[in-house]
Amino acid sequence: MATQGHTLKAFDEDLDRLRALITEMGGLAEHAIIEAMRCLSERDGDGAHQVIEDDKKIDALEVETERRVIQLIALRAPMAGDLRDVVAALKISGVVERIGDYAKNIAKRVAVLEDAGKIEPLSLLPEMARIATGMVHDVLNAFVQRDAAAAIRVCERDKAVDDFYDSVFRTLLTHMMENPHNIGQSAHLLFVAKNLERVGDHATNIAEMVYYAATGEHMADRVKGQEGLAL
Amino acid sequence: MNKPEARWTSAAMSRRVARRYAAERRFKALGLLAIVVSLAFLAFLLVIMGMRGIGGFSNGFLTNSDATDPTQVGVWGALKGSLLTIVVTMALAFPVGVLAAVYLEEFAKRSRFNDFIEVSINNLAAVPSIIFGLLGLAVFLNFMHLPRSASLVGGLTLALMTMPVIVIAGRNAIKSVPPSIRDAALGVGASKMQVVFHHVLPLALPGILTGTIIGMARALGETAPLLMIGMRAFIATPPRGFTDPATVLPVQIFLWSDEVDRAFVEKTSAAIIVLLLFMLLMNGLAIYLRNRFERRW
């Protein structure tokens, strides 16, 4: 935690703006995931279309972040903690952009599932999405606060997401075996579940970046969650 | 955009600026006046002496010595006496003064005693020259029984007088050598002596020589102390060595000016011209030497 601001106030402003960008990106990505899941549950085709459109905003923010980071490094010559922060911001923006892409991917499947009947496993997915987006929200907060302990806590929640995924996988497999004519829909749901599981993994990746930026050391292996059983 | 411009072009500002330049012009004029007035006195002296003395440069004026007959007098004896005296003065005052300056600036530790020495030397430089004459009389003549009226004694006395001037000039010159040069020499592993003699003294030399010039000019023109030690005798033949009785040019002028015979007036003026030329020559030589040793750092 920094004790005081930089002697050059403009440097502080640059760093604050960078963090604001990341926060904004994260907010957009979280909203995209939640919204895509809602459209999936309610079969809202127009909403899904909106999510797909809105992904462009996230991409634009990533480009902006990269531009800001390069400028900051060239003009401010950040050192030590500042340098780690700035490099972390760059990496995190890439990861958040990918999370946004997952939301877009989910939204694209809404059109396909629109005319399907109610599918049992569908009910588990919103909860999974809530946990995953909660992780993203908390880890980005940890980044802004430079809170290494919070980052570790986020990692611990990935296990819950992975367990959810295992459960959905088994359920869908069973459903597919019982309802072969519905395999297409089920396969899509499988992919949706996989996307949400990946969101959780990305959140732990961000947590590692946050931990390193805050402490200068790498998170130990035991803290990370287990990989999913099914690959 | 209007407001700032107006400030610089307003009438009040123009008046202020005009006053500033007027003050500068007044000051320059005053300065010029001061120089002109000082030079006027010098010019006046030169012109008067020239007018009065030009006739005195008859045959043999420059080669004869003192004589009772005004037509036979010459300045050579006094000139030689001055030369011998100044040689003795410089031979003593310069090394002693420079070494004293070096010791006081470089080697002596800061203490009350050394501060006392510094104050004393500064005071010595201001002591009236006739006191040195008394000193010379008491020490060199009465105590050491050196030959009276010899250029050796005159030189010794004047050396006492000139040394403080050289010490002061030397100390200031040494103080003005930048410490970076000293640091550089020390950094290479030079000892204190090497720093002083290889680096500091060569750089201080111009300043020391300036002080020497000032001291020498003063010594050349001294009359009172030399009168006290007896360099006022009637010397008909020029001195051959340092222990022969001699007189110096200023004293010679003084003696001639006392003479009753009107013909001596011309000779006195001529001698004054010779003295001035002699001083110009010596000073010129010293300045030439100083410029040769000048180094820019």
Binding site: T7, E217 | I181
Partner: protein, 304 residues
Amino acid sequence: MPDEKEPMLTNSTVPFPSTAIAAEAAADEVVPGERVADAEPGSAIVPDQVSGPGPKMRAEDVRVFYGEKEALKGVSIEIHEDKVTAFIGPSGCGKSTFLRCLNRMNDTIAGARVTGTITLDGEDISSPDMDVVQLRARVGMVFQKPNPFPKSIYENVAYGPRIHGLASGREELDGIVENSLRRAGLWDEVKDRLTESGTALSGGQQQRLCIARAIAVDPEVILMDEPCSALDPIATAKIEELIHELRGRYAIAIVTHNMQQAARVSQRTAFFHLGELIEYGKTKEIFTNPREQRTQDYITGRYG
């Protein structure tokens, strides 16, 4: 740019992927006789092992008093051969004062008192057996403002060897002068005008001349007190490159208030603050992950 290459993985539990990388890491990272300890904050000695050569110079609990004022408070540090050690810190923190202790230049300041022990190759430099003149030949110094002697270029470089009797004849002296000027990267620029005054050179050339002068007496350690602060960026870069080349022959200690320069040029960095040594360690660690908050504040520009 420090030329120590990074091993690919540092404290990961996965072993090095190949023996080649491992060998490289071993050669560059671990200097025989050196182990970076987890020092308590403030103590900051990098202790040496029992085996291997010791440090070139070592200071223990050095304090400097100007009259009553304590300008340097108990500094303990090591200067290693073939490494550049940078001293950084804000103005008045004592880094120049400490540098000047290493060749006893503080002796020339009236009223300065130095306590503590400083050793060169194990010998105490303030003992009566150590001749201060010889010490200053073994531990050379380059100053902040270039200060060549007001003599010819040749004389500038030849002065040191001459007074120490390092050359037995004119030819040998010529050789020393040429060698020193070559090593200082100045020979090609001045070889045709050795008799010209040293003060007629440009600022950067003058500073390289001063470096050549320091090298000419064949020192073991070179101390540099903000050598580039009076120079333009190009001259600065040339001198930094020169320092990099000199590193193999001499132990170099450099005081700088330019942190970028310390990062570029040194392998070890010591951070001073208000007369104390706050942190000392490998340059790349100091600038990416310093241990002390004060160091972090200074490096990131939060100081003051």
